[in-house]
């Protein structure tokens, strides 16, 4: 055993690495068997169990061997070195936390709607491309990024990604990274809000349940703040119980002719309500709304994901979607663009997600008990998230392909009635009857499921099938709305925390111009900044709601591109840290995913801007719209707005690409200077302090 790397000795701890060789050989065989079955049975129906087996087998092998290589050789984790949690222990944010508890905390923070929605949308290419990208993308890319950034932040007293970019690469790069984060957040919030809008429109049951979360959160807030101060857990359990009661009551509201009209909201109404909610949550004290909802959604999220895993293992459903569909050629109805690059940006979270770098350099590094734990939490936590993505993919793939496309294709492709929808889907080579669609909608307690784009409703239908198969039939409608409520709940939690964080970032940036604007406690500044942030993402949300192509087609790729470009920024920071700490010969571990991500996003970004197909290229769509206005086919004021939005989307894509290229260029320049010894390899790593408790 190498003396410099005392990891893996695992004196008393029982670790995964301590398992006998025979078991690892069996695991490798199981994983290989999973992949083998998937590969050999194309054309026949494959059971979801093989997908799960292939994924889990690969994860465990990767964790055992690749993450150990990263931990010992590349990063050199050292349990004798005191972590920030030990050196700065304050009982508040710097708290040494045992590894499985911290694993849960970190996982709850990184898992959100992204890994659930992306794989469902990418299933338009079939289940195979998504599966391969989710599994190998995470092993070689996403988990490496999370691990390296968590490590870098841990060695720098829990510094954020922006601060590290500033320290390690340069002040301008730091500023660029911060601006990029703010812009990405706006697109992220818009597209997630659009997913909620599409899931809740014309659904009194869903709207009622989600509206109930507001009084429930307020009640929890008063419980924790006034009635029984600090008793957060009991308030949360009461909240969860009330939420489940609201879910059941929703059916009664939807069935009541007197009540239902009050909760049947159009897409525009819901969009305005979500914006108003985001604004209010950003300006009122956090304990009233934001913090209780955060707790509520954390427990719901962990519970539901565990339930889904159990459901899949109990039911072992067959995958009815083909491994590959004809839409790999770029003519897909859900979003335009070929398999490469669009499968790789549609699935961001689950394979690699730049946003994680913000969490991995946020609360988690301040809570690590031992350096060695960073491996389980950074690398292992991301593997777990990838597994969630695989489960979401399974939930989409258990649907009848005809049903899947009926739910996810926009109205523009399916036409106004069930008959036109069934006809369009037959043209694509899948069969579904109007009666089948009507029966399914009735079964889940909705008026219609056709063209409910955004991924959430089809995921909910798939989850409802799995849940009712595992835990009792006859409750399909309740399970469907449970799944919708769970997705809407934590998407709205992302919307409120995201708006608030965006507000703080904007105030910080504005503070450089005029100091009072930077004071987050100054009320006029707070209100203005909140309104600006809500207006920013709200613009894109409203654009998505009115988009003739369905909104998801333009906004989801934009989100994917921006999230993956943030990953590129994070990988640049990671590479710089490696090179500056004398690990240049290992820099390939971050350069490899960086190269792939740049190839994918630059191709996708370029195509979204300049492709000749108006469904794909923003500028081509603007040209088509201008022609329609000229020929009188489109009202000029409506058309002018579409053209403006197309050009704005193109500009946003271009700006993201430019910012990323600047970050990559300044980073590469720094690497060259250091490698040529023109600049000393100095890193801002905190000096070694011996840990108090060893072993």
């Amino acid at each position: 055993m190498n003396v410099r790397t005392p990891l893996g000795k695992g004196k008393k701890r029982r670790t995964l690495a301590g398992m006998p060789t025979l078991l690892w050989a069996l695991l490798a065989l199981a994983g290989a068997a999973g992949w083998g079955v998937i590969a050999l049975h194309s054309g026949e129906t494959v059971n979801a169990a093989w997908l799960v087996l292939a994924a889990v087998g690969t994860y465990l092998i990767a964790y055992r061997f690749y993450s150990r290589y990263l931990a010992q050789r590349v990063l050199g984790l050292d349990d004798r070195r005191a972590t920030p949690a030990e050196r700065h222990a304050n009982g508040r944010d710097f708290v040494p936390t045992t590894r499985w508890v911290l694993f849960g905390h970190h996982f709850a923070a990184i898992a959100g709607a992204g890994p659930l929605v992306g794989p469902v949308l990418a299933a338009q290419f079939g289940y195979l491309p998504g599966t391969i990208w989710i599994v190998f993308g995470v092993v070689l890319g996403g988990a490496v990024q999370d691990f390296v950034i968590l490590f870098a932040s841990m060695r720098r007293d829990g510094k954020s990604l922006g601060q590290m970019a500033k320290q390690e690469i340069g002040p301008w790069t730091g500023l660029l990274a911060m601006t990029a984060v703010l812009a990405i957040m706006l697109i992220l919030l818009a597209v997630l809000a659009l997913v909620v809008v599409n899931a809740l429109k014309d659904s009194p049951w869903g709207v009622f349940t989600i509206l109930c979360t507001l009084p429930i959160a307020l009640m929890m807030g008063f419980w924790m703040k006034v009635w029984r101060p600090g008793r957060t857990l009991e308030a949360s359990f009461a909240g969860v119980a009330l939420l489940l009661a609201a879910l059941v009551a929703g059916r009664w509201v939807a069935d009541s002719p007197a009540m239902a009209p009050y909760f049947t909201w159009s897409a525009t109404t819901i969009a305005c309500a979500v914006m108003a909610y985001g604004f209010v949550a950003s300006v009122i004290p956090v304990w009233m709304l934001l913090c209780p909802r955060d707790y509520l959604s954390t427990f719901m999220k962990i519970g539901t994901i565990a339930l889904l895993a159990v459901g899949i293992l109990v039911v072992l459903p067959p995958l009815r979607l083909p491994p590959l569909t004809r839409f790999v050629d770029g003519t897909g109805p859900i979003f335009a663009g070929k398999l490469f690059p669009f499968a790789f940006i549609t699935i961001a979270c689950g394979a690699i997600s730049g946003f994680h770098a913000l969490v991995a350099s946020g609360t988690t590094p301040k809570m690590l008990l031992r350096e060695g734990d960073a491996r389980l939490i950074g690398y292992g936590g991301m593997l777990m998230e990838s597994f969630v993505a695989i489960m979401a993919l399974c939930a989409a793939a258990v649907l009848d392909p005809g049903v899947y496309f009926a739910i996810n294709a926009p109205a523009a492709a399916l036409g106004p009635t069930l008959q036109t929808a069934a006809h369009a889907i037959q043209q694509w080579g899948f069969t579904v009857t109007p009666g089948q669609l009507q029966a399914l909608a009735a079964q889940v307690g909705e008026a219609s499921l056709v063209s409910r784009t955004g991924g959430a409703p089809s995921l909910a239908v798939g989850m409802a099938q799995i849940f009712s198969g595992a835990f009792g039939r006859g409750l399909t409608a309740v399970w469907y709305h449970f799944a919708i409520m769970f997705e809407a709940l934590f998407i709205l939690t992302t919307v409120d925390t995201g708006t608030r964080v965006g507000r703080f970032m904007l105030q910080e940036l504005a503070g450089h111009v005029w100091a009072p604007l930077g004071r987050t406690s100054w009320y006029p500044g707070t209100v203005t900044a909140s309104a600006l942030v809500v207006g920013g993402w709200g613009w894109f949300l409203v654009q998505g709601v009115h988009d003739p192509l369905g909104g998801i087609n333009s906004l989801w790729p934009l989100f994917g591109i921006s999230n993956q470009l943030l990953a590129a920024v994070a990988l640049c920071v990671g590479t710089t840290v490696l090179i500056k700490t004398g690990k240049a010969r290992y820099a390939w571990v971050t350069l490899l995913p960086l190269g792939w991500i740049l190839a994918v996003t630059m191709t996708a970004g370029w195509q979204k801007m300049f492709a000749a197909d108006p469904r794909l290229g923003f500028l081509a769509h603007a040209r088509v719209t201008l022609n329609q206005i000229a020929s009188g086919a489109l009202a000029s004021d409506h058309g002018a707005r579409l053209v403006f939005n197309d050009r704005l989307d193109a500009a946003v894509a271009g700006a993201f690409m430019l910012v990323t290229l600047l970050v990559v260029a300044t980073s590469a320049w720094e690497w060259i200077l250091v490698l040529r010894r023109r600049r000393p390899a100095e890193s801002a790593e905190t000096p070694f302090v011996e840990a108090a408790r060893v072993g």
């Binding site: 508040r92 045992t98 992220l188 949360s236 956090v286 955060d294 913000l358 609360t363 925390t497």
Partner: protein, 60 residues
């Protein structure tokens, strides 16, 4: 309350990012006995303000 139950409660709190008043008091007693001890409510206020103060705490 048994030790296991208390440990479970503590773990749940930590996972959800909730304040842990008892742990904070223990830290104060051990490391800074001279500092004033906040009430449960004061600690809750400080904790929540700090936690949602800066930087994203959640991913997409």
């Amino acid at each position: 309350m048994s030790v296991e139950f208390r440990r479970l409660i503590g773990a749940l709190r930590r996972v959800a990012g909730m304040p842990d008043y008892d742990a904070y008091l223990a830290h104060l007693r051990a490391c800074h006995p001279e500092r004033p001890v906040p009430t449960r409510r004061e600690f809750f206020d400080q904790y929540v303000t700090a936690r949602y103060g800066d930087g994203p705490t959640r991913c997409c």
